[in-house]
Amino acid sequence: MKVTKTTLMASAIAMVAGGAMAEEMTIVSWGGAYSKSQLKAYHEPYSEKSGVTILNDDSSAEAVAKLRAMNEAGNITWDVVDVVAADAIRLCDEGLAMEIDPDTMLAPAPDGTSAADDFGDLLVSECFIPQIVYSTTFGYRTDLVGDTAPTDVCSIFDLDAYPGKRSLEKRPINNMEWALICDGVAKDDVYDVLATPEGQDQALAKLGTIKDNVVWWSAGADTPQLLADGEVIMGSTYNGRLFSVIEEQKQPVAMLWDAQVFDLDGWIIPAGLSEERQKRALDYIMFATDTQRLADQAKWISYGPARASSAPLVGQHAELGIEMAPHMPTDPENAKNTFLYNYEFWADYRDDIDAKFQAWLAQ
């Protein structure tokens, strides 16, 4: 478990000041720049307001497996967990996450709009409280793609116009959709086609045309590193990672927003917490997911706030001082052609298609 220095210090001070055990809660997230944005926007103001000490645990990548193991062992040590929507659905399905009533447990928007309406369609599961909208999209090296910069996602498959290596995630999700679109399947039909074995073969065949030129990544930091080193000329990753390569590290990289795939990330509260801990977790959630707090997070990282009412409040980056709105995946200029991660389809087809995809990769 990684405990950040600030919280260590805070808890040490709290221990000394209070003499007795201070109130503590463990919040699980992804680590890195993302955890920092949460620390600044949520944890620090919340600790100040309530006196609760927050411990960070960077385990979100294995959250479902670990929560399942904790549940079996009957000892749940986490209070609030940050997960992607697909994991939240699975946790809800397995009865490992608590159901949330948006009307009573979440703060309404400042203008009185109920939380349910403010989050709208993004409440994809009864247990899930959305936080941000992020996207998986492409970045390319401006100096390595020749005179015409790519504007179309299908440039990925165009080896003649853009010779060189590309990086794609080592899993079927997103790649199969992009392959089908670029193989002439209409956007609305993608999942109908992908549900058939022929459609899956078609997608793999399309990916096969560039297979020898693909570096497959499994960690979100891989593509930024490969782009910065010039190992690949274009590659997919999370838009926030590309933002930091472009704006913070000033690398010659640009975004290709076309056919970006939106996904959601947010909180769940594990099922089976004691009443006291559950109350504390809910109090935190009520505070951390209100309109202002979600807008505050966007000062630290280029992910779009999940509430409609937060969007107008997004301002400048806290350290770089640049306007954040144009870097949001949800910005109208960037969101001309988008996909929303199809949770239901992948919940059903993930096992089957992943086995095929891995077998195909190993050929």
Partner: protein, 423 residues
């Protein structure tokens, strides 16, 4: 001797028979020894043996179907899967009853996830149907057959019931079959469709690459260990630190460093291009494939080979080689006939260590292995943390354990485990 002439058994000082007294004191000593190691034994048992056994048990455990749908499973026994006809109303009624209870306990989606491993689509079918079946009254709303098929046409598909029936057994061989690219069907075990076969291939690759890594470790470690064992103490200590230094560095740091070294715009390729040995447009591909994994893992596991070799070579007396040479042996003969046979126990110990460690390696192949250089352990990790198919992960793990034990046994038969020395 008066004792010898005595007719009764030999007695100890306190009058008990000597045999009994001896046995008692032995037993007491054994108990004391056991008490001394009890904390360790208990610790190993609790933190090692029990978790492993329970994990292995998951590879056959499958009570979820019969526990979630107890009435349905009983009814299914009367249904003939071969008839090609849907089950009768009694089964649908039993199923509705089971599902209402399961939805109440939030067990139905868990079962959907389990069955989705076998048949795509089960996950959403159970989730969606659950919401509507919950509203049905188990008494008043009968008959259910039509209603269920209305809710989701999957309930009107014979295949659905076949899958449930096939996987209703509390102890299943299904996970083990999956682990060897087969599957459990109503007609018995069958192979997976060809485009989904991958696990056998990965097992083979894991064994093959572990052997290659062990071999290259032997080749590299032998001369180093020889040097270490035969140089003066001051120099060899310095060299030893060089061997151990990477050993103390984090595994992730070393693996990431290899990435910087090996990639196409990396240190090795840049140097070769600069020297003119490789053309700029034909840079070597030495990462994200098997070569990358072999290089990085050989480097990481090298100390495990050097250390046992070194400690065995240190014990080989120099007088033997001198004696051989004084009797006219050439340098080669001395090495091959005198020195090498004495160093074999070190090679054996190092090889076992390196081979067994590399068979279970996960993070290095994941980072530098690309698609062709990954091991079976990467698949196990996927099933533990991503697909949550713990039964399959357990079956894969069990097979891997069995393979290692089998190889250990073969090694013992061929080389002999007594020939392994760590120093």
């Amino acid at each position: 001797m008066t004792d010898a002439t005595q007719s009764g058994p030999m007695l100890a000082a306190d009058g008990t028979p000597l045999k009994k007294s001896l046995a008692r004191s032995l037993r007491r000593r054994k108990l004391r020894a056991l008490a001394l190691i009890a904390p360790l034994l208990l610790f190993v048992l609790l933190s090692f043996v029990i978790p492993i056994v329970s994990m292995l048990f998951r590879s056959v455990e499958n009570s979820i179907v019969s526990e979630t749908l107890p009435l349905t499973v009983i009814e299914l026994q009367h249904w003939d899967a071969e008839s090609g006809e849907l089950p009768d109303e009694a089964l649908y009624a039993a199923f509705t009853k089971d599902m209402v209870a399961a939805v109440e306990a939030k067990q139905h989606t868990r079962l959907g996830t389990r069955l989705n491993y076998e048949q795509t689509g089960m996950s959403s079918m159970f989730r969606k149907s659950g919401r509507q079946i919950k509203r049905l009254d188990v008494e008043a709303d009968a008959p259910f057959k039509e209603k269920l098929i209305d809710i989701h046409d999957g309930w009107g598909d014979v295949e659905t019931w076949k899958v449930i029936k096939t996987h209703a057994v509390p102890i299943t061989n299904g996970y083990f079959l999956n682990a060897v690219d087969m599957r459990r069907t109503p007609e018995g075990a069958q192979s997976q469709p060809e485009d989904k076969q991958i696990l056998i291939k990965l097992f083979g690759r894991t064994l093959f690459m572990s052997l290659v890594i062990t071999g290259s470790c032997i080749l590299l470690a032998y001369p180093i260990s020889y040097l270490l064992a035969n140089l003066p103490m001051r120099v060899s200590n310095l060299l030893m630190i060089l061997v151990l230094l990477p050993f103390w560095t984090s595994l992730l740091v070393r693996t990431s460093a290899w990435k910087v070294m090996l990639q196409q715009q990396g240190v090795i390729n840049e140097t070769l291009v600069w020297l003119g040995l490789v053309a700029d447009d034909a840079r070597l591909v030495i990462i994200n494939n098997q070569i990358g994994t072999i290089i990085a893992m050989t480097h990481i596991l090298l100390p495990f080979m050097v250390l046992p070799m070194y400690s065995v070579m240190q014990t080989i007396p120099e007088t033997y080689t001198r004696a051989a040479k004084s009797m006219g042996a050439t340098n080669w003969t001395t090495f091959w006939r005198i020195y090498f046979p004495q160093s074999i126990p070190g090679i054996g110990a190092g090889s076992i260590l390196v081979f067994i460690l590399s068979i279970g390696y996960y993070i290095t192949p994941e980072i530098v292995g690309g698609t062709k250089g990954v091991f079976i352990s990467n698949r196990i990790a996927y099933h533990i943390s991503s697909s949550l198919n713990w039964g399959l992960a357990a079956a894969l793990g069990t097979i891997l354990l069995a393979v290692v034990l089998l190889l250990y046994w073969v090694y013992d038969k061929i080389v002999g485990i007594d020939n392994v020395k760590l120093g």
